[in-house]
């Protein structure tokens, strides 16, 4: 059920931190969980797992292609490998291995891409992953996840491990607001209505979920009733929640820290085209960014609550 009360968005930890912490818990519960790293363990935060379980942690050096295929071998022998690196590197340098050695034979590898989007900040575009969801969703059989906060990330690390099949799990570098209470239930393939609304739906994943909640508050003051839906699973898409939003609100704005040419927006547009065509707007990355503060970059490249609200106004206007 959608929440009736207003959101108090308090700043939480980065999703990469929640990933690293949950991985340690998971390691204690399941001895088959192993981790492969390409010299970024302190950044992806799998270093905590390495300290706790050195015999189950494999440093591959800076060699992502080899790392992905080693993960496939570990999985083929019954292990549950979490293969982690910056999303920009593991998804591009490891893509051919993900295609032929993981996706095609449907091997149980969990790929974790941290430092996704442009909110990594000062390191600049070579480290910013804005194509990873296009690549991951292009692989048949892959489950693609992008949690919004520390609570949902902790849940999805466990869901990814329990799922039998390849998974891509997207994490961010920057601290993000906590969206969920501790009792929230999550499931792969299920979106979550966070706020109900009737004029337009704001649909998002990752850090754009909190921005969408803020946008809904801006719109409410203007008399526009916005529904907010978190889509932590990009693939397989929750077609029902999309069709329901299209039917009941007549307009959907998709917000994501990813190229608008791929990712959630095009998946939702495809689902809407097949179910209940409606007005759509897309908020996301359109080009390679630059160095800067995370906040400054999100503002300059148009991924804030104000951008979501502006897109919602356009969508509502187009309905008339």
């Amino acid at each position: 059920m959608a929440a009736k009360t207003k959101y108090e968005l308090k700043m939480g930890s980065a999703t990469r931190e929640a990933f690293g912490k949950t991985l340690v818990q998971l390691g204690k519960e399941n001895k088959d969980v192993v981790v492969c790293d390409a010299d970024l363990s302190k950044s992806t935060m799998v270093h905590w797992f390495a300290q706790e379980f050195p015999e189950r942690f494999f440093t591959c050096g800076i060699a992502e292609a080899n790392m992905v295929a080693i993960g496939a071998g570990l999985a083929s022998s019954g292990k549950i490998p979490f293969v982690a690196s910056f999303s920009a590197f593991v998804m591009t340098k490891g893509f051919e291995q993900l295609r032929v050695t993981v996706a095609y034979p449907n091997v149980n590898v969990k790929v974790v891409g941290t430092h996704s989007g442009i909110s990594i900040g000062e390191d600049g575009p070579s480290q910013m992953s804005i194509e990873d969801l296009s690549l991951a969703t292009a692989l048949p059989g892959f489950t693609v996840l992008s949690p919004a906060d520390e609570v949902s990330m902790a849940a999805f690390v466990r869901l990814a491990a329990a799922h039998n099949g390849p998974v891509f799990l997207r994490a961010g570098r920057a601290k993000v607001p906590v969206v969920y209470g501790p009792d929230q239930q999550f499931a792969i393939g299920k979106g979550i209505e966070l706020l109900d609304g009737s004029d337009v739906t704001l649909m998002a994943h990752g850090l754009m979920v909190a921005e969408s909640i803020r946008a809904a508050e801006i719109l409410e003051a203007e008399g526009i009733s916005a529904r907010v839906v978190d889509m932590p699973t990009i693939k397989p898409l929750d077609n029902e929640i999309v069709a329901k939003a299209a039917r009941e609100t007549g307009a959907i704005v998709v917000g994501e820290e990813h190229l608008v040419d791929g990712g959630l927006g095009v998946k939702v547009a495809q689902a809407v085209a097949l179910s209940h065509p409606c007005i759509m707007e897309f908020v996301g990355v359109t080009t390679y960014a630059e160095s800067g503060t995370p906040e400054g970059l999100l503002q300059k490249y148009g991924m804030t609550a104000a951008n979501m609200a502006a897109a919602a106004r356009r969508a509502v206007a187009r309905k008339k």
Binding site: R56, N66, A69, A72, G73, L74, S77, E96, Q97
Partner: protein, 272 residues
Amino acid sequence: MQTRDIHELEDFCKKIRRHIVEMITEAKSGHPGGSLSAVETLAVLYREVMRHDAKNPQWAERDRFILGKGHACPVLYAVMAECGYTPVDQLKTLRKMGSIYQGHPDRRFIPALEASTGSLGQGLSVAIGMGLAARMDGNPSRTFVMLGDGEIQEGQIWEAAMFAAFHKLDNIVAIVDYNKIQLDGFVKDIMDLEPLGDKWRSFGWHVVDFDGHDLQAVRNAFAEAAATKGKPTVLLANTIKGKGVSFMENNPKFHGMAPTKEECDKALKELA
């Protein structure tokens, strides 16, 4: 290791070669040269070296084999069929729609295959993952991976070579089917690999260099690999592309071209 009459093994190799020629002729496409060059190593591996059971292909302690050079799958299909994994009488469905004998090894069609291959350079890494899992579990399983000589031009092979030696993985064995020919011509003209043994040695591997068509030499090479502890072993099997069929031997044309019906008949006479 079982001791077999070497003449029986020779006969087995001839039978595998006949299968290869007939399968590829029937398919009208495929890779005869690199299949024929790998016959002796695969014959000794499946008949004498690996601990495996065709009736129990998912046995956790089995030894594993990955064909990195997936295009040479006719030799693997023929050997696996003759070992009881898959039907011998369907070998001639190679590359046909619906056949379990796909153009490159595909686990979806033959679950007893340890990996789906066909994109060169990935098999050694997969073998490493299996070796790590076996070591973690105290499982005696060993993993063998056959690489093409052209294949080891791929950078990932050397990422994997570094890894295996650094992690002292002595339960994996790489076999290079060093037949000196790749698709576009002779390896020495495309991208020379020499000094190949020195390259592997400098990466920390134990290297065995031998005649890959001499069955006793092949046996000895596998025995040396089994006895080598604390580092991985690579077997450099010096072979002849198209071995056993006079007009295919050392002929780059037969890397990826099927024989005609007449060529097939001629080849089968030589392999009788």
